[in-house]
C-alpha cells in the first residue's frame, strides 16, 4: 500500500525477507512481528533485517503512481512491545474524481474512520478479507522467522 519512496530501479532487485517488513503494508499486516525504522534511503539500503521488534515511532514518506499522477503521503507508525499502537497518515493519496462522477456513483466520503471495537457493536458476524489457510500462514511464519533472524 504505502512504501518508503524508493527509486523505481531499486524495486527490480529481489525482495529480501528483511526488506519485506520495511513497507508499511508489511508492518500493518505483520503487526507484532516488528518493523524496521523507516528512514528513507537507509531503510531500503540495509533491508531492515536487524533490529526488528524495536519499539518507537517511525515515519516514512510514501509515494506511488496512480494512472494519472504520482501521489505522496507521510505515514507515522508507533510500535510498543512489538505491536502497532498507532498509525497516522498525512496527505491525500487519492486523486479527485470529477464532481459529476462523485455525485452519480459515489455517495460521499467520510473523514478518517477509526472504528469501534467489535466487542461493542453487537454484530452476529464480521466481514473482512478472507481468513487464510494453514499453508499460507506457515509461509508467513517462515518469512517472519527469516526477518527476525
Amino acid at each position: 500500500m504505502i512504501r518508503t519512496a524508493a527509486p523505481r530501479s531499486l524495486r527490480s532487485t529481489p525482495v529480501r525477507p528483511g526488506a519485506a517488513l520495511a513497507g508499511v503494508a508489511g508492518i500493518l499486516v505483520l503487526a507484532g512481528c516488528g518493523a524496521s525504522p523507516a528512514g528513507g534511503a537507509a531503510d531500503t539500503a540495509d533491508g531492515g533485517s536487524s533490529a526488528a521488534y524495536t519499539d518507537g515511532t517511525y515515519t516514512a514518506e510514501g509515494s506511488y503512481q496512480t494512472p494519472e499522477s504520482i501521489e505522496t503521503i507521510e505515514v507515522t507508525v508507533t510500535l510498543a512491545e512489538g505491536v502497532i499502537e498507532d498509525v497516522e497518515v498525512v496527505g491525500n493519496p487519492t486523486k479527485p474524481e470529477s464532481e459529476e462522477y462523485q455525485g452519480r456513483f459515489i455517495g460521499g466520503i467520510s473523514d478518517e474512520v477509526v472504528g469501534k471495537s467489535i466487542d461493542e457493536i453487537n454484530v452476529s458476524r464480521v466481514a473482512g478479507s478472507s481468513l487464510t489457510s494453514g499453508g499460507f500462514n506457515e509461509a508467513i511464519e517462515q518469512i517472519k522467522t527469516d526477518a527476525a533472524a
Binding site: 525477507p17 508489511g26 493519496p93 456513483f105 455517495g107 453487537n122 458476524r125 464480521v126 508467513i140
Partner: protein, 300 residues
C-alpha cells in the same frame, strides 16, 4: 444481535479458507455431503493452487478442455470488470500473482512484477463447448470465484433446508431470511469495525489487502496492467440484493472492482451498494448506502 439458538451451525475449511453455514433447519448428512462435493468440484476445476486442477492443466499447455459449468457466467462478468476498470481486472492475472510469490506452494518471494497478458479476450475463449487458451496462461477467477461458489452453495442448501440461511465463506457471505447485522472489519485492526450494515436476502463480499499479504506491499489484489499490488484502496465491501442475478458473484466482482477507477460506475450499473476504505483511513460509500460508519467524530 446474536443468532437465535435455534440456528444450526456447520463449520469447515475448504478452498483455503474458513466456511460457516447456519440454517434454521438441520442439514442432514446427505446435504452436507452434497455441499462438500460441490465445493470440491469447483476447487478441482478452478484452483490455481493444485496441480491436478483444470486451470493448472491449461497453464501447462493443454490448449482446450470441455467448458466447465461456471465458465461462461464468470468470464462474462470478467469481461464487464475488465471493461469497467480499463483492464485492471483480468482473468489471466494468475501468472502475475505467481511472480509475486502467491502461487502453488506459497513461495511468497517476489520476482519483478510483470503485467498480465493484455488482450485476454483474444487468448481465452469459452464457446463451442470448449474452454480454450490460445497460448498457455494461468487463469485466475479470484476476483469473483468465491462469490460464485457461495451462490451455488446457498442455492443447494436452500433447496434442502427451508427457513433462514447464512453461508459465510469468510469474506463472501450470503443471507436468506432473517436479517443479519455485520461488522465491517477494520483492515488495519481486525479487533475493530469501521461500520456496520444489516442485510437480509442479500450477499455481501469483503475484500482487503491485509490478510493475503506477505510483506513489502505485496498482497493478492494486483493491477493486471502493471502486475503490482494496488495501493490507494485498502478494503472494500459490496452488497447485492438477492434479486440481482448471481448476487454473491456480482458482489465479489464489485468488491474487486472497487480497488480501481471505474468500480463505482460498474456498481451503479449493477445496482450494488458499497463501501471502500482508502489508504489514509477515509471511507467512501455508494449513493444510498445503508451502512453505518464510525467516522472520526464517533470514536468511543
Amino acid at each position: 444481535m446474536n443468532p437465535p439458538t435455534t440456528l444450526h451451525t456447520w463449520r469447515f475449511e475448504a478452498i483455503g479458507t474458513a466456511w460457516e453455514i447456519q440454517t434454521s433447519a438441520l442439514l442432514g448428512a446427505e446435504t452436507r455431503a452434497e455441499v462438500a462435493a460441490l465445493i470440491a468440484d469447483f476447487d478441482t476445476t478452478w484452483s490455481r493452487f493444485r496441480p491436478d486442477s483444470l486451470v493448472a492443466r491449461l497453464a501447462r499447455g493443454e490448449g482446450s478442455v470441455p467448458v466447465p459449468r461456471d465458465a461462461a457466467d464468470m468470464l462474462a462478468a470478467y469481461a464487464a470488470l475488465s471493461d469497467a476498470t480499463g483492464g485492471a481486472v483480468n482473468p489471466l492475472v494468475g501468472g502475475a500473482l505467481e511472480r509475486l510469490g502467491y502461487g502453488p506452494g506459497y513461495r511468497l518471494t517476489a520476482q519483478q512484477a510483470a503485467p498480465a497478458p493484455s488482450g485476454w479476450r483474444q487468448i481465452v475463449s469459452w464457446d463451442a463447448g470448449r474452454l480454450a487458451l490460445r497460448t498457455p496462461a494461468t487463469l485466475d477467477v479470484g476476483a469473483l470465484g468465491k462469490g460464485r461458489l457461495v451462490d451455488l452453495v446457498i442455492a443447494l442448501v436452500a433447496s434442502n433446508a427451508p427457513g433462514d440461511i447464512v453461508v459465510d465463506a469468510s469474506g463472501d457471505l450470503a443471507v436468506r431470511g432473517a436479517p443479519v447485522r455485520i461488522g465491517l472489519e477494520h483492515p488495519y485492526d481486525p479487533a475493530r469495525a469501521i461500520g456496520v450494515v444489516t442485510i437480509a436476502d442479500a450477499a455481501l463480499s469483503a475484500s482487503a489487502t491485509n490478510r493475503r499479504a506477505w510483506g513489502d506491499g505485496l498482497h493478492h489484489v494486483i493491477d493486471a496492467r502493471t502486475g503490482e499490488p494496488v495501493r490507494t484502496v485498502v478494503a472494500t465491501w459490496a452488497i447485492a440484493q438477492s434479486s440481482v442475478h448471481d448476487a454473491a458473484m456480482r458482489a465479489d466482482a464489485i468488491a474487486t472492482a472497487l480497488f480501481f477507477d471505474g468500480g463505482p460506475r460498474l456498481a451503479h450499473e449493477w445496482g450494488i451498494e458499497w463501501v471502500r476504505m482508502l489508504a489514509d483511513g477515509r471511507v467512501e460509500y455508494s449513493p444510498g448506502s445503508t451502512a453505518e460508519l464510525f467516522s472520526g467524530a464517533s470514536v468511543e
